[in-house]
């Protein structure tokens, strides 16, 4: 096949054996045949002119000077004909869908009750949660009437029902508040809470933060004087969006006074044992009385500790706080059948653009890293290939 590489002239190949001559003789015979047929030439010309005349009558452009304009005009004519109504119907249908979707999203109609902003859903769940408490409550804490801000935040739960106490005996009730707060920045709110708690005379018993700033969370346990609990809860609602809250009031009056009576009894018993000890004459008696006295003192210490703890729990309410950052709207969609609110569309779009840019940048990064990983293999392969080429060149 070396002839192919040399690019030889194949017309000269045909000159061998007189084939080119034969071929030319054959085609010249056909040519000579045509020359004798002037009527054919005339007939073909007539047919060609007839075709041109027909096309001119039919409006098809003959010369191409204005071909583009005429073609565009022809297309427009076609479009404005049988396709016009199709385009019109499509545009109207799209406009209707947009109007319908926007109306449903803004909750101005009730045709799609499940669709709407997440805020409304939170309100619904909160009102359901507090319903049983409202049913049996006697007094509601002094929550402010609903303002615009209060409408967004869930309604504060009602404190537990307190049975009427005897006039001379104060009730002993411990309060526990569990609350989840969605905030913009964790650090700022943690600082605000700590300051507020200190101002109210309380203290932070536990605090924990984790995660980066965009997806961070924090858990706090604070102790606040019982009478300042409502004030703190109101303050919390102004620093973020309350996602969930749970109030537990535990009445320990019976246990408290039982323990107090037991303590008084034990103290009286201790007093009597001390008197017996003073009257004891033998060593055996002394040892027996001291043994009983030690046992009683141990019980007294336990009861005192318990009462001290209860006093602290009654005086200081416990608040467990969970702080979460505001999630990006295009990633916080938990229920796919509940689209994000129109008000967050612009934010979601910004996030999407940033995500695309960062993803593209990441792809480039991964590519460079991938090249780094494969570089030793690529270099080895290049060396082997170069060596093979050199070896082949030497051998040839």
């Amino acid at each position: 096949m070396k002839w192919f590489n040399k690019r030889m002239d194949f017309t000269s190949l045909w000159e061998e054996d007189g084939d080119l001559k034969r071929m030319k003789a054959f085609f010249s015979a056909i040519e000579a045949d045509l020359k004798g047929r002037e009527q054919v030439k005339h007939s073909v010309k007539q047919k060609a002119l007839e075709i041109i005349a027909r096309e001119e009558e039919g409006g098809i452009p003959v010369a191409g000077k204005n071909g583009l304009v005429q073609r565009m005009r022809a297309k427009l004519v076609v479009l404005s004909g049988h396709r016009r109504w199709k385009i019109g119907v499509s545009v109207i249908a799209l406009a209707l869908m947009v109007i319908l979707g926007q109306g449903a999203m803004n909750s101005s109609w009730n045709i799609l009750p499940r669709m709407g902003s997440t805020v409304k859903d939170v309100q619904m769940s909160q009102s359901l949660k507090i319903a049983p408490q409202e049913a049996g409550s006697i007094g509601v804490d002094g929550g402010s009437p609903s303002t615009k801000g209060a409408a967004v935040a869930p309604l504060p739960p009602v404190q537990a029902i307190v049975p009427p106490a005897d006039a001379g005996i104060p009730r002993k009730i411990t309060h526990y508040l569990t609350l989840t707060l969605e905030v913009a920045t964790i650090n700022d709110v943690v600082g605000k809470i700590s300051r507020e708690v200190q101002q109210q005379g309380g203290y932070v018993s536990e605090s924990q933060q984790n995660g980066s700033d965009s997806h961070s969370s924090a858990q706090m346990t604070v102790k606040i004087p019982a009478d300042k609990l409502n004030a703190l809860r109101d303050s919390l609602a102004t620093w973020g969006k309350v996602l969930d809250q749970h109030m537990l009031a535990n009445d320990i009056t019976n246990q408290y006074y039982d323990s107090q009576v037991r303590l008084q009894t034990l103290e009286a018993e201790e007093k009597r044992y001390l008197e017996i000890l003073n009257q004891a004459k033998t060593v055996d008696d002394v040892l027996k009385v001291e043994n009983a006295l030690s046992n009683i003192r141990q019980q007294i210490e336990q009861l005192k500790g318990q009462l001290k703890l209860w006093n602290n729990q009654v005086d200081y309410s416990t608040v467990n706080l969970s702080l979460v950052t505001l999630q990006s709207p295009n990633v916080s969609v938990k229920n796919p059948w509940q689209p994000i609110a129109w008000s967050k569309t612009w934010q979601a779009t910004q996030d999407a653009v940033l995500k695309t840019i960062s993803s593209s940048w990441n792809i480039i990064n991964y590519l460079v890293i991938g090249v780094g990983y494969t570089l030793p293999y690529l270099m080895t392969g290049a060396l082997v290939w170069g060596g093979y080429r050199m070896w082949r060149k030497r051998n040839s």
Partner: protein, 169 residues
């Protein structure tokens, strides 16, 4: 008037070439119609033509496409029409030899593939370059060279098989 003159000039220039090309590729009753349509297409497309100096090769490109359309429309396989050609007008003394050559060459060409005959006619008879032929037939330069080489081998083999009709044996 100017357009008429232009058409006449174009027609005079292209008719022999087009008719020669069409007459051996399309059945005789349709040759005139197909040739007329090709010439009209060429004349209509002249203003948009890019290579003004390659009119003939461009016209043959249109002819190739039009012939392909013809066979596609008639749902037939392209064939060469050597049997329908009129006998050559020759002198009485040369009758026997010329007639034999004509028949044997026609028979050999009929046994080659249409693409090989295309290359023989365009390259050897019409004198187009390999690049021009490649453009006309919508193929590559190498393919044209290969076709011409194979056509030569095929033609020689068939022609040698017909010693009675002028083959070299």
């Amino acid at each position: 008037m100017e357009a008429e003159t232009t058409f006449d000039e174009t027609y005079e220039l292209l008719f022999p070439l087009i008719y020669r090309f069409v007459s051996i590729r399309v059945p005789k009753p349709d040759v005139e119609d197909v040739a007329a349509e090709i010439i009209v297409n060429v004349w209509r497309g002249l203003p948009q033509m890019e290579k003004k100096n390659a009119l003939k090769s461009w016209a043959l490109t249109i002819a190739t496409h039009r012939i392909a359309d013809y066979y596609r429309a008639h749902k037939r396989t392209p064939v060469l029409m050597f049997e329908e050609l009129t006998k050559p007008l020759v002198q009485e003394s040369d009758l026997s030899e010329t007639w034999a050559i004509f028949l044997s060459v026609a028979e050999a060409l009929a046994k080659l593939t249409p693409q090989q005959v295309n290359v023989i006619q365009l390259r050897l008879i019409e004198g187009f370059s390999a690049g021009e032929v490649a453009e006309i037939l919508s193929t590559t330069h190498q393919a044209v060279d290969s076709l011409l080489y194979r056509a030569k081998k095929g033609f020689r083999k068939i022609y040698q098989g017909n010693p009675d009709k002028g083959g070299c044996g």
